[in-house]
C-alpha cells in the first residue's frame, strides 16, 4: 500500500504539468497537432489513475487545450470528479474546467447538483465562492430550479463576499427559472439597502438588468432608486441606476420630469466620461415632452456632445457622434446647427468615425444645404484612399440625394452632373447603382431628359475613358444606362448620327454581353430617329449613308458569343438591309420604322398595378390554367437592378398579368382608396389594358402616369436651360437664389397645399409613388396607434396603474402582460372611453361621414376583419339596388347600422386560472348609427355553437339575447363587450347572430332586425407572449411540436415590415432576428406554443412553423398567408 503511494508520487514527478505542456506546445510550432495528440493520450492515462492530484493536473491541462480549440467533452465526468474533491486546490481547478467546458447540453451536469449544494453550504467561504462562480457559467434550468432556494439563503449570508456573489448569480437563476423571481424578489429588494456597498451595487445590477427586460414591474422601486442616485458616489452604481431610469421613464412621464434636475447636475459636475455619457443618453432617450426643463437639458446634452466630438480621443468622438444620431431622430434642428463639426469629422483618420459622420449627414440634409453637403462629399471622394471607403461615400451620396423620392433635390441637372462625375471613379463596384439612378431620374423627371440625353451622349462618346483600363470594371454598367437613355429619348439628341457612330464602335464588343445587347437595341432606336429626321430633307443620301453604316457595323455583333446580342443584332441587321432596299427605291420608310419604337414610356410605381380595380363578375380566385410550377418566381429574381428597364419589354404585351396576383391587389385596392388621401381620380385613360373585361369603363386604368407627370417645377427648369453652359459652381449659386425665390413664393401660396400638384410644390414627384409609400407604412402606423391607445389608457388612470404595478411586483413580476389586474383596468377604462366618444360625437352629430376617432383607431387595429363583417352586415339588408353603398340606403330613410366586430382576446380574455375549464374571449362590438333615426332597445344575440357560447347572465335561457346597455342617437357610435366561452380553439369559426332594435322617428317607431356573422380566427386566440431565445430553443428541441410550413411568393416589403405585420396581425413576438431570418413565438390562450421561423430571400418568404397542435398551426398559417395575400 505504502509502496503504491510512493510509486504514485514518483510517477507524478515525471508527469507534465501545465507549464510543461505550454512550453511543449511552443516548442513544437511545426507539428503542434501531433504533439497535442500525444499529450491528450497522456492525459487520458493520467485520468485513469486514482490519485486526485494527477487527475486535477490533467484536467487543468485539458482546460488549456479546450481554449486552443480542442474537444474535451469526453472528459466531462473527470471534471466532475475533480470538482468534488475535498481540497480547495483541486476543487478550484475542477470548477474552472467546468465553467469553461460545460454547457447546457452536457449531460453530467445533473450529477453535480448535490455536490454544488454541498459546496454552497460549506463553512469555507471560498468553497462557496468557487461554486457560485462556476455555477454562473453553466447553470441550467434544472440546476436553477433545484438550487434556487440554497442561493436565496446565501443572499443573507453573514459574509458580504458570499452575499454579493449570491445576489449576482440570482439573475442567472431568474433567467433560467423565472418562477424563482417572485419568492426571491423581496430579499433582492432588501439588498438594495445592504450595508456593504459591493452587495448593494450587485443588487442594483441585477434589478437594472431585470428592469431592462420588463420595466413596468419595477416602477414601484423608482423612489428607492431615486434616493440611491442622489446619495451614491460610486460611478459604477450610478451608471446602472441611470440606465434603469432610462428604461422606466417611457412608462412614467412624471419620472422624466423629476429626473431632469439630478441628471443635469451630474452632467455638470461629473468628471467621469462614462457617467456623463450615460446621463446624456438617458436624457436623449427621455425626450418626449417639450417642457422648459427638457429643452434646457437637451441643449446641455448637445453642448456636451459637441465637446465629446471635439475631443482628441477617438472613442469619445465616436460615441459623441453616435449619441448625436439619436438626437437627430427627435430633434433634427439642434443637430443641424453643428453641421460644421460633423463635416469636419469626415476628415478624421479613423474610418469608423467617418462612417458615423456620414450616417449623421444623411439625416441632416435639407433642400437648402444638399448641394453644399454633396459638394463636400465629392471632395472627399476624390481624396479618399481605399476603395471600400470610397464606395461607401458613393452609396451615401446617392442615398442622401435619392432619399424620400428625391425630396431634397431642387435641381435635377445638378444631380445628373453629380452622377456623371461619379462615373469617373476608378474601380468602384457601384456602377449599377449609378446606372439605376440615371435611368430612374431620366424616366421620371421628364423635364430633365434633354439635359440627361446630352450628358449620356457625351458619356457614350467618351466610353473609352470608363472602360479603358480594365475589363472587370464595375463602372461600365453606367454605359448600359447611357445607351438606353440615348436610344429611348433619342429625339432630344443634338447629333444623333455621332452618337450612333459611338454606339457601334468596335470597342463596344469588349463590354459585357448585357450592355452590348442594350447598345444594339438602342442603336436601332437611334436609327429610326435619324431616318425620321433625314427623310424630311430632300437629300436622301444621308439616310442611306446611315443605313450603310448600320450594315457595316452590325455584323460585329452578329458574331457575338452572347446569345442576346447575337439575336438582336441579326434581327436588326436584316431589318436595316430591308430598309436599305426600300430606300434605294425611294420609298419613305421613316414612319414605319419609328412605329417599331412608338409610344412614350411613362413612370409607373412598382405597385401601381394594385390600383386597378376588379371588374364586377370576375372571379379571380378561380384558376384559368393549372397552377404554374414553382420555378416561376425564381426567374424574376436575378437582374432586379434594372427594374426601370422592364417596362420597355413589356410594353407591347400588357395582358400577361398573373390573374391571382391581380385579385389580391384589387382586393387591397378598395381599402386603399378609401383611406388614401392621395388617391387621384382620373379620366378614362387612352391605354385600356383590360378591354376584354366587361364594364371596365369606370376603372381608372393606368391613370397614375397620365394625370400628373413627373415634372421638376417649371420655373427653375426653364432657367436651367439658359445656364446649361455655365460652370457648375455658378449654377449652384444661382440655384440657391432661385430656391429662395421659390420659397417666398411658397410662403405666399400658403401652407397645406403640399400635395396639390401646383407647380410651386417641390415634392412634385409621381403621385403613384406617394401612394406607394403610404401603403408601405400602413402596418407601422397601425402599430404606433395601438401602442398609443395602450399608453393613453394608462395615462387616464395613473393611480390605478400604480396599484397594478405593485401587484405585479408582489405576485408575478417577471411574467408578461396578461394578468388579472389588466382586466379590471380595461373594464374600468371602457365606460370612460365610450363616454368620451359620446361627447366627441355630440360635437359633430350631423356628419355621418365623419367617423369617430375611436372607430378609426379600432379600425386600424383590425381592418381586415372589421371590413369583412361590415360587408356581411350589408349583405343582409333588404335589397335596395346598390348593395354596397351605405349612403344610398340612407337616403331612402332606411336604417343602417354598422357593425364593427372583432374579438380581442389578447386584451381581456386572460384569466389564467380559468384556462383549465374553458377559455374566454371578449368581443368588442362597435355600434354606429348611420341613420337619421334614434335607435333603442338593442338586443344582441348569437346562435351558440357546440364549441362557442355567448355568456349570458344567470337565469336566462340559452337563446335569450343580451340587452345592449345604451341607446344610439343618430350618428353616434358606442362600444359594447360580450364574453364568449370557447371550448376548442384549434379551428376558426363563424357564429351567426342577430341584432334587434327599435327605430324611433318623430312620428313612428318600428322594429328592425339585422343579421350578422362573427368570425373567430385562430389568430385571435393567440396572445403576444415574449419568449427568450434559450427558452425558445429548448421548446424546439423538446420534440413535442409538430411542424408545418408555408411559402409566400411575391411579398414585396422590407423584412422588418413583414415581421411587424406578423407581430401585429397575428400576435407574435420576435424571439431573435439574424439578417433575413427571424424566429417568432406566440401562445394560444390554452397554452399551445406556436413557433415560427421566418426566412426571406428576394420576394419569397418561407415560414417554418411548429406547434403542439397541428390543426391550430395549419389554420394560423392559412391566416398569415391570407394577410400577405391582401397586401
Amino acid at each position: 500500500m505504502a509502496l503504491k503511494i510512493v510509486k504514485g508520487s514518483i510517477d507524478r514527478m515525471f508527469d507534465k504539468n501545465l507549464q510543461d505542456l505550454v512550453r511543449g506546445i511552443r516548442n513544437h510550432k511545426e507539428d503542434e497537432a501531433k504533439y497535442i495528440s500525444t499529450c491528450i493520450d497522456e492525459i487520458k492515462q493520467e485520468l485513469k489513475q486514482d490519485n486526485i492530484a494527477v487527475k486535477a493536473n490533467a484536467v487543468c491541462k485539458l482546460t488549456y487545450l479546450q481554449m486552443l480549440g480542442y474537444d474535451v467533452s469526453w472528459a466531462a465526468f473527470n471534471i466532475v470528479e475533480v470538482m468534488s474533491s475535498s481540497k480547495f486546490t483541486y476543487k478550484r481547478i475542477g470548477y474552472l474546467a467546468a465553467s469553461q467546458c460545460f454547457h447546457e447540453n452536457t449531460d453530467v451536469i445533473m450529477l453535480t447538483t448535490n455536490q454544488i449544494r454541498k459546496d454552497l453550504s460549506s463553512p469555507n467561504q471560498y468553497d462557496t465562492g468557487v461554486a457560485l462562480t462556476g455555477l454562473s457559467c453553466f447553470v441550467t434550468p434544472d440546476l436553477a430550479r433545484d438550487l434556487a432556494n440554497d442561493i436565496m439563503t446565501l443572499m443573507s449570508h453573514t459574509k458580504p463576499y458570499i452575499r454579493k456573489k449570491a445576489v449576482l448569480i440570482m439573475y442567472k437563476v431568474f433567467l433560467k427559472y423565472p418562477e424563482s423571481l417572485r419568492p426571491a424578489f423581496p430579499r433582492l429588494k432588501e439588498k438594495l439597502e445592504d450595508p456593504d456597498p459591493g452587495v448593494q451595487s450587485a443588487a442594483v445590477n441585477v434589478i437594472c438588468e431585470l428592469a431592462r427586460r420588463n420595466p413596468k414591474n419595477y416602477l414601484s422601486l423608482a423612489p428607492l432608486f431615486f434616493k440611491l442616485m442622489t446619495s451614491s458616489t460610486n460611478n459604477w452604481v450610478l451608471i446602472k441606476i441611470i440606465k434603469l431610469f432610462g428604461a422606466l421613464t417611457p412608462l412614467e412621464p412624471r419620472l422624466g420630469k423629476k429626473l431632469i434636475e439630478p441628471l443635469t447636475n451630474l452632467i455638470h459636475s461629473t468628471s467621469a466620461m462614462s457617467l456623463l455619457y450615460e446621463c446624456v443618453n438617458t436624457v436623449i432617450a427621455g425626450q418626449y415632452s417639450c417642457s422648459v426643463g427638457h429643452i434646457k437639458s437637451h441643449l446641455l446634452c448637445v453642448q456636451k456632445l459637441r465637446i465629446l466630438i471635439e475631443d482628441s480621443d477617438q472613442n469619445l468622438k465616436y460615441l459623441g457622434l453616435l449619441a448625436m444620431s439619436k438626437i437627430l431622430k427627435t430633434h433634427p434642428k439642434s443637430v443641424q446647427s453643428h453641421k460644421d463639426l460633423i463635416l469636419q469629422c469626415l476628415d478624421d483618420k479613423d474610418e469608423s468615425i467617418r462612417l458615423r459622420a456620414l450616417d449623421l449627414l444623411y439625416g441632416m440634409v435639407s433642400k437648402k444645404n444638399l448641394m453644399e453637403i454633396v459638394k463636400k462629399l465629392m471632395i472627399h471622394v476624390d481624396k479618399a484612399e481605399g476603395t471600400t471607403y470610397r464606395d461607401e461615400l458613393l452609396t451615401k451620396i446617392i442615398d442622401i440625394c435619392s432619399q424620400s423620392n428625391y425630396q431634397y433635390i431642387t435641381n435635377f441637372e445638378w444631380y445628373i452632373s453629380i452622377l456623371v462625375e461619379l462615373t469617373r471613379l476608378e474601380g468602384t463596384r457601384h456602377g449599377h447603382l449609378i446606372a439605376s439612378q440615371m435611368l430612374d431620374v431620366a424616366i421620371r423627371v421628364k423635364a430633365i431628359r434633354v439635359f440627361a440625353v446630352a450628358q449620356m451622349a457625351t458619356l457614350l462618346d467618351n466610353a473609352h475613358l470608363l472602360t479603358g483600363n480594365m475589363q472587370r470594371n464595375g463602372i461600365c454598367e453606367v454605359l448600359y444606362a447611357a445607351a438606353w437613355i440615348c436610344g429611348e429619348f433619342s429625339e432630344h439628341l443634338e447629333n444623333p448620327v455621332q452618337t450612333l457612330e459611338a454606339m457601334l464602335r468596335p470597342k463596344v464588343a469588349t463590354l459585357p454581353g448585357h450592355i452590348q445587347a442594350v447598345y444594339v437595341q438602342n442603336a436601332a432606336k437611334l436609327f429610326a430617329t435619324i431616318l425620321k429626321n433625314q427623310e424630311g430633307n430632300t437629300d436622301s443620301t444621308a439616310a442611306q449613308e446611315t443605313s450603310q453604316m448600320m450594315i457595316d457595323r452590325l455584323p460585329l455583333f452578329v458574331q457575338s458569343a452572347n446569345l442576346e446580342v447575337q439575336e438582336r443584332a441579326s434581327c436588326i441587321l436584316q431589318l436595316v438591309k430591308y430598309i436599305q432596299k426600300l430606300q434605294q427605291k425611294d420609298v419613305e420608310v421613316a414612319e414605319e420604322v419609328s412605329a417599331l419604337f412608338a409610344g412614350e414610356l411613362n413612370p409607373v410605381a412598382p405597385k401601381a398595378q394594385k390600383k386597378v380595380p376588379v371588374p364586377e363578375g370576375l372571379d379571380l380566385d378561380a384558376w384559368i390554367n393549372e397552377p404554374p410550377s414553382e420555378s416561376e418566381s425564381e426567374d424574376e429574381q436575378p437582374k432586379a437592378i434594372f427594374t426601370k428597364e422592364e417596362p420597355k419589354h413589356s410594353r407591347p404585351r400588357h395582358t400577361e398579368v398573373d390573374e391571382k396576383e391581380l385579385a389580391r391587389r384589387r382586393e387591397a385596392r378598395k381599402q386603399e382608396q378609401a383611406n388614401n388621401p392621395f388617391y387621384i381620380k382620373a379620366s378614362p385613360s387612352s391605354q385600356k389594358v383590360y378591354q376584354e373585361a366587361p364594364g371596365v369603363e369606370h376603372i381608372p386604368v393606368v391613370q397614375i402616369d397620365l394625370s400628373v407627370p413627373l415634372k421638376v417645377p417649371g420655373l427653375p427648369m426653364s432657367d436651367q436651360y439658359v445656364k446649361l453652359e455655365e460652370e457648375r459652381r455658378q449654377k449652384e449659386r444661382a440655384e440657391k437664389k432661385k430656391k429662395e425665390k421659390k420659397k417666398r413664393k411658397e410662403k405666399r401660396s400658403g401652407r397645406g397645399k403640399k400635395h396639390d400638384s401646383g407647380p410651386e410644390s417641390e415634392e412634385d414627384i409621381t403621385p403613384a409613388h406617394v401612394v406607394d409609400i403610404v401603403t408601405e407604412e400602413m402596418p407601422e402606423v397601425g402599430m404606433h396607434l395601438s401602442d398609443d391607445v395602450a399608453q393613453e389608457d394608462q395615462n387616464h388612470l395613473p393611480v390605478r396603474v400604480k396599484i397594478c404595478i405593485c401587484m405585479f411586483c408582489l405576485c408575478r413580476p417577471l411574467a408578461d402582460s396578461e394578468k388579472l389586474p389588466v382586466r379590471s383596468h380595461r373594464a374600468a377604462g371602457a365606460p370612460k372611453s365610450s363616454a368620451e366618444d359620446g361627447e366627441a360625437e355630440n360635437a359633430t352629430p350631423q356628419e355621418p361621414k365623419k367617423k369617430s376617432s375611436k372607430e378609426k383607431r379600432d379600425k386600424k387595429k383590425d381592418k381586415e376583419r372589421d371590413r369583412k363583417v361590415r360587408l356581411r352586415c350589408w349583405k343582409h339588408f333588404p335589397p335596395s339596388g346598390h348593395k354596397s353603398d351605405s349612403r344610398s340606403t340612407q337616403s331612402e330613410g332606411r336604417t343602417v347600422v354598422t357593425f364593427l366586430v372583432f374579438p380581442l382576446p389578447r386584451k381581456v380574455c386572460d384569466i389564467q386560472g380559468n384556462l383549465q375549464d374553458g377559455s374566454q374571449v371578449v368581443v368588442s362590438v362597435i355600434f354606429e348609427n348611420k341613420s337619421d333615426s334614434f335607435l333603442k332597445s338593442m338586443e344582441f344575440n348569437v346562435l351558440d355553437s357546440l364549441n362557442s357560447k355567448l355568456q349570458r347572465p344567470e337565469g336566462s335561457g340559452p337563446h335569450d339575447g343580451l340587452t345592449v346597455p345604451f341607446q344610439l342617437p343618430p350618428g353616434v357610435s358606442n362600444e359594447a363587450r360580450f364574453v364568449f366561452t370557447v371550448q376548442s380553439i384549434v379551428m376558426p369559426q363563424k357564429l351567426k347572430g342577430t341584432l334587434t332594435f327599435i327605430v324611433k322617428n318623430e312620428d313612428s317607431s318600428t322594429h328592425e332586425k339585422l343579421d350578422f356573422k362573427l368570425h373567430f380566427t385562430c389568430t385571435s386566440y393567440l396572445i403576444t407572449t415574449p419568449c427568450y431565445s434559450d427558452a425558445f430553443a429548448k421548446l424546439l428541441e423538446s420534440g413535442d411540436l409538430k411542424s408545418s410550413s408555408v411559402r409566400l411568393e411575391g411579398v414585396n416589403m422590407p423584412f422588418h415590415h413583414l415581421l411587424a405585420r406578423i407581430c401585429f396581425h397575428h400576435h407574435f413576438s420576435v424571439v431573435e432576428r439574424i439578417d433575413s431570418c427571424a424566429s417568432m413565438y406566440s401562445r394560444s390562450i390554452q397554452g399551445h406554443h406556436v413557433c415560427l421561423l421566418v426566412k426571406t430571400s428576394g420576394q419569397t418568404v418561407s415560414i417554418d412553423a411548429k406547434c403542439d397542435e397541428p390543426t391550430l398551426l395549419g389554420n394560423v398559417l392559412d391566416e398569415i398567408k391570407q394577410t400577405f395575400s391582401q397586401c
Binding site: 480547495f88 486546490t89 465553467s99 469553461q100 462562480t133 454562473s136 439574424i1074
Partner: protein
C-alpha cells in the same frame, strides 16, 4: 457583457470567458470572426465596433487584445473601464504582468477574472477587495504552484514564466497603459 476574449497580435486566443450559453462550434466561429475583424483595424481607430446586434469594445495592451461584447444599451466607456481594471488587477497580482504570465498561469488569470466579474457583471469595484480575495484563496491552496511563487519576485518575465527565450510576449502589458486611459474617476 456577453463574453470576453483575450488574444494576441498573432491571433492566438489567450483567454475566453462566455457569459451566455453557446455551443462550442458557435464560440469558435465568433472567436475567429472577431479576432480577424479586430486585428484588421488600424491602431488609431476607436475602440468600438458594431458587430451583429452587439457592440464590441476592445483595447490593445502591448501585444494583447482585450475584447468584450456588450449589448446595445450597455455603456461602452464603462466596459473599457472594466477592461482596464482587469489589466490593473493582473498587473498587481503578477507584478508587471506580461503576456507570458497569462499564457503560463492562465488558470490564475481566470480566477482573477472570476473574482472581478460574475455572470458578466462587475461584482467588485474595489481593486483591493479583489486582490485580497484572491490572495486568501491562494493561501488555502496547499499545493501552491512553486514555480510561480519562486519566480514571482523576478523582474524577468521570461524567467518567471519558466522560459528562457526572449519573446515578443514578454513585453510588460501595463507599462503601455497610461493611467489616464481611464474614463471613470471611480472610487475604489
Amino acid at each position: 457583457m456577453q463574453f470576453m476574449l483575450l488574444f494576441s497580435r498573432q491571433g492566438k486566443l489567450r483567454l475566453q470567458k462566455w457569459y451566455v450559453p453557446l455551443s462550442d462550434k458557435e464560440k469558435k466561429k465568433i472567436t475567429r470572426e472577431l479576432v480577424q475583424t479586430v486585428l484588421a483595424r488600424k491602431p488609431k481607430m476607436c475602440s468600438f465596433l458594431e458587430w451583429r446586434d452587439l457592440k464590441i469594445v476592445y483595447k490593445r495592451y502591448a501585444s494583447l487584445y482585450f475584447c468584450c461584447a456588450i449589448e446595445d444599451q450597455d455603456n461602452e466607456l464603462i466596459t473599457l473601464e472594466i477592461i482596464h481594471r482587469y489589466v490593473e488587477l493582473l498587473d498587481k497580482y503578477f507584478g508587471s504582468v506580461c503576456e507570458l504570465d497569462i499564457i503560463f498561469n492562465f488558470e490564475k488569470a481566470y480566477f482573477i477574472l472570476d473574482e472581478f466579474l460574475l455572470g458578466g457583471e462587475a461584482q467588485e469595484t474595489s481593486k483591493k477587495n479583489v486582490l485580497k480575495a484572491i490572495e486568501q484563496a491562494d493561501l488555502l491552496q496547499e499545493n501552491i504552484d512553486f514555480q510561480m511563487r519562486l519566480f514571482a519576485g523576478s523582474r524577468d518575465p521570461a524567467q518567471r514564466a519558466g522560459g528562457n527565450r526572449t519573446d515578443i510576449n514578454t513585453i510588460f502589458i501595463a507599462i503601455h497603459t497610461p493611467p489616464s486611459a481611464s474614463y471613470s474617476a471611480v472610487c475604489s
